[in-house]
Structure formats: C-alpha cells, structure tokens
C-alpha cells in the first residue's frame, strides 16, 4: 500500500504564462487540484486603471477563457478541483464566466465560489498607518491613490471548499496560499497549526512560479543543461498529510526537477529565509531537507513554520506619472561612437524642448542598458548597439517628448542611424506600488456561490 497523497498541480505562474502545460497537467497529471496564479504586484491597480477607461473590461484575467477552455474538459473528467486567483478585481464576474464555460461543456450542478473582500481602497487610509518602504504616513498617498488590496490567506478558499465548491476563484490571495488551501481542506489542518501550515505554505511557494521549479528558468548551456526546454511540464506536488511532499512533473515532458531547480525556486523572492511572511504562517526554509529520490522527483521535508503575524500586508497602488521610452540602433564598425554622438544630441534636444523629467536614462543596449553602472568598461565594442532612451515624467505630454525626439533622429541626427516607424504608443502610465500593514481582524473576506 502506498500512503495517501494529495496531488496538486500548477496551472500558471503569472498572467502571461503558457496555457498548453496547464492543459497537459489537467489531462495527464492525475490531479486532485489544479491551481492558477495570475497576478503580479501591480495587477490589481493596472486592472482598476483599465476598468476606468474601458467599461467593457470585465476586470478578471484576460486569459480566463483560454485557460478554462483548455483545462475544464480534463478537470471535469478526472474530478479535479480548481483554485485560481484569476478574479483580479471582479471574482464574481470570473466565477460567472466559469459557470458559462461549465455549461458549454455540458457540466451541470458544479459549484463555483468567488472569494472577495480584499479590496479596501475606500478605507485603506483609515486602516493603515505607515508605508513600509519609507516610513511615511500612508496619508501621503491620498492624492494619487488608485487601489489598495489586502493579501488574503488560504482560509476563505478552505471555507469555500467546505461549502462544496468545486472551483474557487479569488481576487488577491498570497500566491503560496492558493496552493496550500487544498492541503488544509483535505488534511483538516487547523488555521493556527503553524507547523503544518509552514510546511504547506513552503510547498506553495515552490509551486507558485510554475515551471520555474521544473527547469523553466534554469537552462544555461554547458553549465546547467535542461532536456527539451521547449516542452516544459508544470509542477506537481504529491503532498502527504504532514506536509512532506514529492515535487515532480508529467512524464515525457521536458525540463527537470532536481535539487538545483528546487533550491533556486525556494529562495526566489525570499529575503530572510527563516522568516518568510505570509498571511497564514511565517515560513522557515532554513530547516528544509531535499532529496533526489528518482528522475524528476525531489522529496521536500522539514520546511518549518512559526505563528502568523497579527497583521496582513496591504498593497497600495498609486498613479505616479508616466514613462516615455523608445529605441534606435547602429551597427558595423564604429557603432558605439555613433551611438555616443546620438546620446549627446538627445541630451541637447531635451534641453531645447524643455523636457521636464524626474529621471532620464540614455543607455546603449549591448553595453550598459541592462546592468547599468556595474557594467564592465573594458570590453571590446559590440558589432551592434541600440540606443535606449527613457524618461519618467509627471505628465503624459512630457513623456511623449521622448518618442518625438527619437523621431527626430531619423533624418536630423547621426549617419547610418536605424529606426523603426513608431507603430505603438511609446508612453505608459506608472502605477507605483507601496506596502503597509492592516490589523487582521479588520478584514472580512466574503464568499459567493454560483452553480452551472
């Protein structure tokens, strides 16, 4: 007899992630749960801005249809439940859309839950005190405030499952909690059991970035070779009741699950590894034991936990102006000297047009546009160089000047300049993200249920 394990699969690591491996996990992963993570730090605020401008924007993952069409038939066949944060600023709308797809696939009486209650834009200034990044009062953000949302934990998802939901779609929930909720529900873990929740949330963190743990963010030819890197499988965790697990992927997929891929993901976006704060528990990764027990099978044990903090993290998005940017390029002998003259011309032109910017950056892609000041100064000249120009401004009118002056370089600049005809808006709005803390008891998640 093998001991009972819970099979949890990854369906996405971010909004733009590939859909095919999610479908493969649903079809061949023999999953009890398929979990989707689709948000970045600024996703909620960006969705708020878009919703204001575009009344037709439904406010949930723009790839919701693609993802659900790809996985639902397999999930229905196997009885795989789905947990997802694709609800963004409209979990109820997302749940109803999922119900639509369930009916399309002929599934009746399937219960879908929407988890909301984390959006606190209208009361964030009353509920919070200081900005974590700079110690200033959150009141200083008032004039530019776009949106504020709390990172909810796994508990409301667990409650939705207890009430019979087959699919749970939420707004902002801490990424690892999406993956841990099924463990809490299936194994009956208590929300204050920091030992098991530490292990579970640690596993959630290993899963939340999808193929990043299965070799998808790993290959470096000759140093770290990865088989078939065009054919990655998303991760599967075979979780045991004590929070130990084996990480693996669907057989026959490319990529790799090794001690190295797991270690890289374990500390991804982690600061102090002994104190990784989540809404559910404080995870301690320093006790983790990893063992390669077979090809593409890593056993993860002894991730530990400490009691959760009395506060929840709030993400506050603010309108902070605009970025204008563009690029043009040079090639052949002397590419860099022409690029350098182009930079000088642009600096002077920005004075002529009185560009009012908080910061301007003119870099040479191929030399220093990515790593900035640390880039070595003693390297041979590249054969091709792009001049990349960016400025941060208070108004869109100022940001537009960047692209307009790059336009000028087409015939009023340097010999042998290469340039694209502008085919898209070269300005974008900045949604700056700040953090604060809110007392846990001030936040009440809400559930609503729909049925196909």
């Amino acid at each position: 007899m093998t001991r009972p394990t819970l099979r949890i699969g990854g369906g996405s690591a971010w909004w733009g992630d590939r859909v095919e491996p999610a479908a493969l996990n649903a079809e061949k992963g023999d999953l009890d749960y398929l979990c989707f993570e689709t948000m970045a730090e600024a996703t909620i605020s960006a969705a708020q801005v878009r919703a204001r401008r575009d009344p037709g924007f439904p406010g949930y993952d723009t790839y919701l249809d693609d993802r659900m069409r790809a996985v639902l038939p397999h999930c229905l066949k196997r009885g795989t439940k789905i947990i997802s944060n694709q609800g963004w600023i409209n979990p109820e709308g997302a749940a109803q859309r999922i119900v639509h797809w369930l009916r399309e696939f002929g599934a009746r009486r399937v219960k879908v839950a929407a988890v909301s209650g984390g959006l606190i834009t209208d009361r964030v200034l009353q509920l919070t005190d200081r900005i974590l990044e700079n110690g200033q009062p959150t009141a200083t953000l008032q004039s530019n405030l776009v949106s504020a949302e709390v990172y909810l934990g796994a508990e409301p998802i667990v409650e939705a499952l207890q009430q019979g939901a087959h699919i749970v779609v939420s707004g902002r929930v801490a990424d690892p909690s999406i993956f841990m909720a099924p463990m809490m529900y299936e194994f009956g873990w208590n929300a204050l059991d920091h030992v098991r929740l530490g292990a579970g949330n640690g596993l959630g963190h290993l899963m939340e970035c999808g193929a990043q743990v299965t070799g998808g963010y790993f290959a470096d030819p000759g140093f770290k070779d990865v088989p078939e890197p065009w054919n990655f499988g998303f991760p599967i965790a075979e979780v045991e009741p004590d929070g130990s697990a084996v990480l693996t992927k669907v057989a026959g997929t490319g990529g790799a699950v090794t001690l190295q891929t797991v270690k890289e993901q374990m500390l991804y976006e982690v600061h102090d590894p002994a104190n990784y704060l989540t809404p559910d528990v404080v995870v301690d990764f320093t006790t983790t034991q990893l063992e390669q027990i077979g090809p593409d099978r890593v056993r993860v044990t002894k991730i530990s936990g400490k009691p959760r903090t009395p506060t929840l993290k709030v993400s506050i998005g603010c309108a902070e102006g605009f970025i204008g940017e563009d690029m043009f390029f040079y090639a052949g002998p002397g590419a860099l000297r022409r690029a350098q003259l182009a930079k000088r011309i642009l600096e002077e032109r920005f004075k002529i047009v009185k560009l009012d910017a908080e910061e301007v950056r003119i870099d040479f892609l191929g030399v220093n546009a990515i790593h900035g000041e640390m880039s070595p100064k003693d390297r041979p000249e590249p054969y091709e160089v792009a001049v990349r120009v960016a400025a941060r401004t208070r108004t869109r009118e100022e940001a537009i000047k960047v692209g307009r002056e790059v336009d000028g370089m087409a015939v009023s600049g340097v010999g042998m300049t290469g340039k694209r005809v502008p085919h898209q808006d070269r300005t974008r709005e900045i949604i700056g993200v700040w953090s604060s803390l809110v007392p846990r008891e001030k936040i009440t998640p809400s559930l609503s249920f729909y049925e196909s």
Binding site: F223, K224, Q260, K263, M266, L267, H271, H371, G372, R392
Partner: protein
C-alpha cells in the same frame, strides 16, 4: 587557481519593490566553504557598485549550500518606476557569475562548464 563564479555556483534573482534578492548556490559541497568565505556581503556590494545603491545583507543555508543576497535600492525605485530595460532585475543575478574566486587546485575536477584551455 582563480576561476569565475559561474564554474562554482548557479544563481537566480527575484524582485520585491526596490529590493532584488540574488541567490547563489554552490554546485558542490566542497566548493561551498570557499564560496562562503570569499563572497561576503561587502564584496558582493562592491561588485554591483553603482547598480545596487542600498545596503546588501547576506543570509546563508549551509546544508543546502545556498546564500541569499538581499540588495536594497537595486531596482531603480521599484519595478513600475524603474527606467531600466530589465525593470524586474531578472538578469541581475547573472552579473555575479563573473566574480573571481580562488579555489584549491584539487577541486579542478568539480568545476562546472570548464573547457580545455580555459583558466
């Protein structure tokens, strides 16, 4: 013998606000003590001079041969405000692959990605 870090360890960076964390993991248990002794937070900060503008703190998990360098002021004011082309700092970890380490000659056979004729 002097070798580049890329032969000894692998890396990944992650972003949170204006802070980048860069994980450096030894390929081999025997390499780890040399890595840990030489790649201090101070030398790491000096290597990223000008690009990492704030303090650097180092955390280690010895039994997994891992070090985590938490670098404040590394992301141009934060992902959404940064004017850097790589505003998430995804490529930042690759920089440290060029850090020079001194490794005992006896460990030559454990180096990754060595081609004949390379120092």
């Amino acid at each position: 013998m002097n070798v580049l870090l890329q032969h000894v360890a692998h890396c990944r960076s992650g972003d949170k606000g204006n802070t980048s964390n860069i994980v450096v993991i030894a390929y081999d248990e025997a390499m780890y003590p040399h890595l840990k002794a030489q790649l201090t937070a101070e030398r790491f900060k000096a290597f990223y001079d000008g690009t990492v503008k704030g303090p650097v703190e180092r955390y280690t998990i010895d039994h997994l041969w891992c070090m985590n360098f938490v670098c404040q002021g590394a992301l141009g004011g934060g992902v959404s405000r940064s004017l850097c082309l790589d505003n998430y700092g995804k490529t930042l970890s690759a920089g440290i692959l060029g850090f020079e380490l001194e490794i005992p000659e006896g460990l030559r056979g454990r180096l990754r990605g060595m081609r004949s004729g390379e120092p």
